[in-house]
Amino acid sequence: MKKITGFVITDILKNKIILFYTLILAVFSWSVFSLEDNTAKGVLSLLNVILLTVPLVSIIFSNIYMYNSSEFIELLVSQPIQRKTIWSSLFTGLVIAMNMAYLLGVGIPVLIFVPDMTGLIIILTGMMISTIFISIAVLCSILTRDKARGIGFAIITWLFLTLIYDGLVLFLMFQFSDYPIEKPMVIVSALNPIDLARIMVLLQVDVSALMGYTGAIFKQIFGTSLGLIVSFGLMMLWIIIPFLISLKKFKNKDL
């Protein structure tokens, strides 16, 4: 497992796209914190990156990488190695490489400019989001043999989670605005990892605004240490479930 993971990591780190990704993240993070006079604003600009760029790059890069690794996978399957080991190694390799890119690009400037709980939450949620979208990408890659369809599927998933889901939530809010919908809506939002990540960071930064009407419930649900644990638990589920499904599919896949 370790050996194959090692191969995967070195292979990805040789890739120019991942270097470019790291560089872009770094340039953006540094400029955000150097240009904005207050760090809260910087954190919010950075939040956009975590919620848009990081998932998009994670899902597309991982998806393509999985398709491009089909030869590698075929070679390994003919060798005396468990399929589980092969699949987990590829996933782990992707997770480590992408998170390294994220930590180098975003983690270091955040630790320098926001060395507190907020910074920590930003780094953690960013890593979670990266990993979640790698997990989804891996699942998309096993669902169809056709690379174009697989990538299309990945992009649609990303679009759904970043945009369409929130649109549906807003629609529901207006449909049921006569009912006490705060709590159900909070729960619905928590089911989308991107919304969850956003709320977790906002609770750290934009407290005053959020503490308004919905804010109280917000704080009540996510603000406690239990809420934090549940939030991270939900994110862990987003990592584990797609991966386990993909693993099960891979175990029965014909190469």
């Binding site: 848009l52 939530v169 807003l170 809010m173 605005s177 709320i199 407290v207 009407y213 917000f218």
Partner: protein, 412 residues
């Protein structure tokens, strides 16, 4: 009439001056108790109380005397009595630690309570754990200065106000520090008074609360972390200069809540990190000028029933929403403010932006109608909607705008 009164006062003062005496109270002194010294004292005497614990129940001052503490003597009400009741004019009460007044909701016992006093001076006292701190009713020309008032209230119903003034006139509330009461400073039917350089912090309800109190001035006060900020209601002709309103956070928490106010000036104040910095409801003919709104959830919330208010030369930075309103009617003027969200340009270099700024965002309008939508704040979808709205305004009123936004923040 007033003139004659002053002359008489002066004459009385001159006559008595020669006979005024100083009485010492304390362990090893002639008088062991304040009560006995008070009954011995005449008008215009000075009683000096030396450091000790005095548990004498309710002490009533009904002579024109100065009661001065030395080394912070402690007057303890043992949670049963009103500690000091001032029922004479021109009393000076200074240098004491007044603590543990009785707790009752019926007759509002206070640490120090002034009944119908004129020219009473209460200064340099420490008040700890009283129901009401300093209570003035029917007072006139009284001065409350440099007192430190602290209580440990948990619930609104079980604690009184720090400085409570009722039906009074020409008061000076200066340099006091009030913490942990229900309202820090409370004014009801108090006129021609000044509140200057006070600190009001961590009070359960309002840092400052006044109603029906016309012609007052609030200058250089500091309000921090009060449950619901500052509330100003049913009042005319007030000025609020250079105050700081900070950290009022929570549902229904305001830097200042203005309700049915007219002809007020709010100038040079700082609103920092409040849920709602300035809330206007039924407020008319206000001048809101040279204030700083920074890091608030909402900078200004103007209800549609506000008219003829002028909002000018303010700085708006890092607020989640600069302005929100509940209607489409715009009867207020925004002019020459600095908005950090302004994305316009200044081609003619006259330091004003060449295109108007629309401070009302689509999302803030959505929030007004459907507060739950706050859940979607800063989501990609909302940013996308905001962008579209900025380009093609369709839902927010186009006339709600600042025609001359300044390019650089004012130095405030």
């Amino acid at each position: 009439m007033k003139k004659y009164l002053y002359i008489v006062c002066f004459l009385v003062f001159c006559i008595n001056k020669s006979t005024a005496k100083t009485i010492h109270v304390g362990p090893g002194k002639t008088y062991k108790s304040i009560r006995s010294a008070l009954s011995y004292a005449d008008n215009f005497d000075t009683i000096i109380v030396h450091h000790s614990q005095y548990k004498e129940g309710n002490i009533v001052i009904n002579k024109r005397i100065a009661l001065l503490g030395e080394g912070w003597p402690v007057l303890d009400g043992q949670h049963k009595y009103e500690v000091i009741s001032i029922k004479a004019d021109n009393v000076v009460f200074s240098g004491f630690q007044v603590q543990n007044s009785g707790f009752a909701t019926l007759h509002d016992p206070g640490g120090i309570k002034v009944y119908d006093g004129i020219g009473v001076i209460i200064e340099n006292n420490i008040l700890e754990n009283n129901f009401f701190g300093i209570y003035i009713q029917y007072g006139k020309n009284c001065i409350v200065r440099n007192n430190r008032i602290k209580a440990y209230g948990v619930e609104e119903q079980q604690i009184g106000n720090g400085i409570h003034c009722w039906k009074s006139d020409s008061l000076q509330i200066i340099g006091n520090n009030v913490q942990g009461h229900r309202d820090g400073i409370y004014f009801e039917f108090v006129t021609h008074s000044v509140i200057w350089r006070n600190i009001s912090k961590n009070n359960i309800r309002y840092g400052l609360h006044f109603m029906f109190s016309n012609d007052d001035a609030y200058i250089n006060n500091f309000f921090d972390q009060n449950g619901a900020g500052v509330a100003v209601m049913y009042t005319k002709n007030v000025v609020m200069y250079s105050n700081t309103f900070k950290n009022s956070k929570g549902d229904a928490a305001y830097g200042i809540l203005l309700k049915d106010i007219s002809d007020a000036e709010i100038i040079g104040n700082r609103f920092l990190d409040n849920t709602i910095a300035l809330y206007l409801e039924g407020a008319n003919r206000m001048l809101i000028k040279k204030n700083v709104f920074s890091g608030n959830g909402w900078g200004l919330k103007i209800q549609a029933n506000c008219m003829d208010n002028v909002i000018t030369e303010n700085n708006f930075y890092a607020n989640t929403f600069d302005v929100a309103t509940n209607g489409s009617l715009v009867l207020n003027t925004f002019d020459r403010n600095y908005w950090d969200k302004y994305e316009g340009y200044d081609m003619d270099k006259n330091s004003f932006g060449d295109v108007p700024y629309h401070p009302l965002s689509l999302f803030s309008t959505i929030i007004e109608n459907n507060p739950t939508a706050m859940l979607l704040y800063r989501s990609f979808m909302v940013s996308l909607m905001e962008r579209t709205e900025k380009l093609i305004p369709s839902l927010t009123p186009d006339i709600f705008r600042d025609n001359q936004p300044v390019m650089k923040p004012y130095k405030l």
